[in-house]
């Protein structure tokens, strides 16, 4: 029989696991956590100021113009939605495929997903000219006629895709956490903790019936989330693919976007896991190098898929014979935005190739740097798609240049402040590894595998 890699190292018992995973939420924060949290929080405050200025004074503060009607906001929206892919993919799809290695990272990955989608969700709101009317995108009975939304618009589809994804991901994440929260409740030493974790654990007692229901509900939600993983980024890609702009109007976009999303999401998970391993050394036993290596393999694979898509776009642009398409793609690689294009290609296609080497795949510093590059590359991918297609389209007289302003940088950097604030809070108040899923993976009481 082929022996699997050990998923939890350190020969732990159940008590030890509970102790190690629960303790970060039970002791006062360490210096490391505070050192991360304060800058992240300041960045969040800065983010709110920047958003306030944009909403209060006008979209004109940002670099968007005529003809580039979408800029940093949409680029960063797609970027965060993409990152939000990894969590549900790890939890749901890998769960369905019985990939047990997921247990070490699924909780954090899901948390990351939810926070990333929350970060993403802000952008479509603030990128509108009148965010105070953004609720008009929701189809609800109203007194204005009633005026209905336009179901033909991909942006409308986005509203449903992203909000559904956020809801399901959240329910999935929370449900998976119920047994763990119950553990926290049981371990609670003071009444405040009891008061918080008590209701949150929804009266979990860990009876057979509870487990039975829990397992089937979890499986069902996993089944529900799986198509969403594929649909949400497909639909986000429709924002571009359904439009008739050269460089946007491409049938390859849905699979290409999904692959890209998994790519960037996994990269973000690896980056975060590296940080967790540094910040919480006890987690090294749960988030092992083996986990990370597997992730890196996925990153390399999806990176090549994305690379294939880049090549294929060029081929189709030439093969279609459409002069506008051909121009757009040549202009992407060699026009005024050549630098963005080549940043994208090198970060997304070339650097991940280093993961062919096992040593690099298993080296924390190497993977940390490479995954950050991947995310830079993926941000630029969306930048290239959005900006280079818009800046030079059909009528040459319209052509223009988009440049980032202070406010563009502000929202981009600020959104990381929001993300990290939420993520650091999560690490403080909720168990960052799924104890109830980890425990069946260890070898307590057994000499060898089961």
């Amino acid at each position: 029989m082929m022996k699997r890699n050990i998923l939890v190292e350190g020969n732990k018992d159940y008590k030890q696991i509970s102790e190690e995973i629960c303790s970060p939420t039970e002791v006062p924060p360490g210096k490391g956590w505070v050192a991360y949290f304060i800058p992240a929080n300041l960045l969040l405050v800065f983010y709110f100021c920047v958003l306030g200025a944009i909403i209060g004074i006008g979209m004109g503060l940002m670099g968007v113009n005529h003809p580039v009607g979408w800029g940093t906001d949409i680029v960063t929206f797609v970027f965060w939605v993409g990152i939000g892919h990894a969590g549900t993919l790890i939890s749901a799809i890998l769960f369905l495929f019985r990939q047990k290695w997921r247990t070490g990272i699924n909780r954090t990955a899901e948390a990351m997903t939810i926070f990333a989608v929350m970060c993403a969700g802000i952008f479509p709101l603030v990128h509108t000219g009148r965010p105070w009317f953004a609720y008009w995108l929701l189809p609800y009975p109203n007194q204005r006629g009633p005026l209905w939304v336009n179901f033909r618009s991909p942006l409308e589809w986005d509203v449903f895709a992203v909000s559904t994804y956020l809801t399901i991901s959240f329910v999935f994440w929370y449900m998976g956490m119920v047994p763990d929260i119950a553990t926290l409740r049981d371990r609670a030493k003071n009444s405040i903790r009891k008061l918080i974790y008590g209701p949150l654990s929804l009266g979990w007692r860990g009876t057979n019936r509870h487990w039975q229901h829990y397992e089937s509900a979890y499986l069902m939600l996993a089944g529900l989330s799986t198509p969403l993983v594929l649909s949400v980024h497909s639909i986000v890609s429709f924002d571009f693919a359904v439009a008739n702009l050269p460089g946007w109007h491409t049938t390859i976009f849905p699979p290409y976007f999904v692959a890209g999303a998994v790519f960037s999401g996994f990269a973000m998970v690896v980056t975060l896991m590296c940080l967790i391993r540094i910040g919480y050394p006890q987690m090294k036993d749960y988030v092992t190098i083996n986990h990370l290596e597997t992730m890196n393999k996925v990153i390399m694979t999806t990176g090549m898929m994305v690379g294939y898509a880049y090549a294929s776009e060029f081929f189709i642009a030439w093969y279609s014979g459409v002069e506008y398409e051909t121009f757009t793609f040549i202009n992407r690689a060699f026009g005024p935005y050549w630098w963005a294009y080549w940043i994208m290609v090198s970060c997304n296609v070339i650097f991940p190739q280093l993961f062919w080497f096992k040593a690099i795949r298993r080296s924390l510093p190497a993977m940390f740097v490479i995954t950050i590059f991947v995310n830079i590359g993926m941000w630029f991918e969306r930048y290239v798609i959005t900006v280079t297609s818009l800046h030079a389209d059909f009528l040459p007289s319209n052509w223009g240049i988009f440049t980032l302003t202070f406010y563009d940088f502000g929202v981009l950097v600020g959104s990381f402040g929001m993300f990290f604030t939420l993520f650091l809070l999560f690490l403080r108040v909720l168990p960052m590894v799924a104890m109830s899923e980890i425990k069946p993976m260890i070898h307590v009481g057994r000499k060898d595998g089961h």
């Binding site: 990128h127 000219g129 030079a392 040459p396 007289s397």
Partner: protein
Amino acid sequence: MDKTVMETQKFWRSLEEWKDQPEAQEWVGKEFMSTPMAEDSADEDVARRDFLKLMGASLALTSMSCVRKPVSKIVPYANRPEEIEPGKPNYYTSSYAEGGESYGAIVKTREGRPIYVKGNPDHPFGGGLTPRAQAHLMNLYDPDRLQSPQKGDGKGGFQNSNWDELDDAVVAALNGGGVRLLTSGLASPSLKSAVSDFHQAFGGKSYEWDLVNYDNLKLATQTCFGKSVIPRYQFQKARMIVSVGADFLGTWIQPATYSRQFAEGRKPNESMNKLVVFEGLLSLTGANADSRIKVRPSEYTSIVLGLAHEIAVKSGRSSFNLNSNTKNTLSKYSDVAAKVGMDPALFSQIAEDLWKNRRQSLVVAGGLDSSTGTGLQIAVHLLNEILGNNGKTVDISHSPIVSFQGESDSIQKLINDINAGSVKTLVIHRANPVYAFGKNSEIAKAIESVPNVIYIGDRLNETAQFANWVAPLSHEAESWGDIEISEGVFSIQQPTIRPLYKTRSLGSSIMNWTYVAEKGPGRILNPDNWYEYVRARWKEKQGRWGQSGSFEGFWNRVLQTGFVNSKGSLDRAGSSQFRTSAVSQIRSEVSDGLELELYQKSGIGSGEYANIAWLQELPDPVTKVTWDNYLLVSEKRAEELGIEKSGQIVKVEANGNDVEVAALILPGVHDDVVGLAIGYGRTHAGRIANEVGVNVAPIIAWEGGKPSFTFQTNVKPTSGFNELANPQGHHTMMGRQLVVEATLEQYLNDPSANIHKHTLFSLWPKYEYKGHRWAMTIDLNKCTGCSACVVACQSENNIPAVGKKYVIEGREMHWIRVDRYFSGDANDPDVLFQPMTCQHCENASCETVCPVAATVHSDEGLNEMAYNRCVGTRYCVNNCPYKVRRFNWFNYSKVAKPLDKAFNPDLTVRSRGVMEKCTFCTQRIKYAKHEAVREDRALKDGDVVTACQEACPSQAIVFGDRNNPETQIAKQFSAKDSFAVIEEYNNVPQVRYHTKVRNKESLKTSSKGGH
């Protein structure tokens, strides 16, 4: 606490004490403002017709961020003036005149506010207007206008005063003798007589001066024909037109009139005219030429004489008996073609074409130019005489143009007078020589030395800085006037609003002063006001003009039609004996250095209306640059001079002085010529115009007291950089079928020549249009690119100007823009223009992608935009292949008061964060429909005229209901020579274009084949 705050916050203990406050004293008698007495008071800033009575709009709230909608209260007319029906426009005939350029106009007023100007279609100088004529109304609402008389210290310091004080002081000064009056050219016969009355009262002399005048042309006509007039050219009759440096479609004499005439002869048929342009820079006229030859300005005269030589001497043909002296003179110009470096065969061909079309050809010459002297114009007269054009296409005696009264040597004469010490009081009306010649110029020093300087103008401009008294001038829309445009054609100028401020017209000031001084002839002392005076002058002439009937009847007729033509048909042209002796006065010296040609831009002109933001933001028709003047330079010359890219600051040295200005590398400019526009670099025009661009005054050459606009120069690059605001991104068509061009021959063989048609099909059912179906065609063959439509659209649709910074950032708001493309050789390109506006596509890309259905398709084929529904995702503009949608990046509708009064109340101003675009003037469609319903009839063709269509001088735009087969649009829309832009995307635009036809053998680009 600050002292002033203490004062304003003083408490009062009793009513008596409160009443003693000066403010309270002021309120007395104004408390109950609704009595007619109070309104008629001359001291009142806001008069009866003022719209504030109607709308007490409070825009203050909009300044708070996050407040989305301005809260406005409306108050109905308590006592409605009889002629004003709320919601219904009133139209008044009037005229526009700047310098001498004059057009018959119709002013549209709403609730007593003039808000829009269009050409008077029945007027001989009506039809379309120029951008400046279209925008000049905005000067009325300019926040930087003077609102009351000013007392100055002669050094630029001013304090508010009142008319009583000013009149007393002015009359005292005038009574002191030594009076000189410097006015801008007075095209108004009534004002002319008022001025003569003024001199009868106070003695002295007057000088008329405008920076832009056509003195040389007048003088040449005087020399050749004995009459100091500007010939009235009739481009519509000419089949062969040669322009030597005259930008008659853009800025020369009467460009809007000429555009209309030119377009008339431009129909692509056997008798289509041919335009050949010789010029140094690339002007709008050059851009429209069938054949354009680059020459230096100093070669203009020899070009004309060379052509005369080809015809009269070489071929020995002439409609006019040339004497041997003339022939000898011409013989010196036998090798002009070789000298200017053009193909001699082409030169002979042009001469041959001119002769072939004798009596129906036309030669015009000279730009903004005094330095080429009268010689150039004499040569032109001679050439036209040889061709037999005088009396056919050139009218010299029947009804020539007389509206340009300014004379370029007036300034020198005035300086001489002042230096001779004979001037004690100088009254300046409108003219602004201190700006034109610079604040260190002789004229500035001379004016400064005059003891009493009285300035009559609408703002404290550069010249007014030296004034002891400034009498604020009413806008044309606030005062009565008249203009004699061509001899015997008199145009009336009706006021359409009471003066907004304490201002007076020149006529009324003269009347006041003669009245206070009790001097002058009875005709100026007796009438009650300026209106009576103007009427009296017209009454005197009624008989002379052959107008029968009672005066009241005649007067009413004039007010209705806007003009009197006492000359019969203006199709006629007359000439008189050409004096051959004139030829001996021709001088022609060809220089060989780098020549600087100063020119006018059609938006800014001489700079008088520079404070109108619309004009500053109007892209120059040829360069497309806004908000700046710049040194035009060819690519080759730029390379030689070391100018790396457009926007680099260069030092332009000439006549012992220099200015620093950004360079603009433009294809089509002669390698030995650089160009710079006048009218920029104002220092005291107002908040908009001040410090925009560079004033060329320091380097203008003076020759015998006359300014010269063409001279030798040295250009040196500097390290400075000034980014030019060019809203157009790229300047070639990239081989795409955007503008279709054909030669006349190709077109006559097949009107759809060079149009690449596509077989298109759709899976979806088409829209059904059961009622009207609005559509537009734009004839690119007629369109000259003048951009009057852009300004008309801004005026009609409340479109803001955003400023240079935001044009650079790509936030300009124009609903219609004129795309300009170069094709062919980069040194000698063909220029193509394409007005681009919302195409109202049947399968509109924007409609499907709007998530909130804010932009929808109407059952009449309009692509409608519901501003209130828009949340501003900008998806629509991203998906629009034409990128004609405009987004409100900031709150643009908040404008400085009283500019808000210029808003068209028929449509809203747009709030921040919403998309806007051309609506096909939907408010006009609605209005026409209401009118038709009220009159119980069907809509007729021509009931709905869009603003762009109305403004177009060459009538290139046709708009109407496609579903009615009787309409012009229905025929035009499916014409064989029509095409849609990016047709292959099957957006099915409801704006189609007609092929641009060039009357020449071959095009510079071969059109692309199919795919």
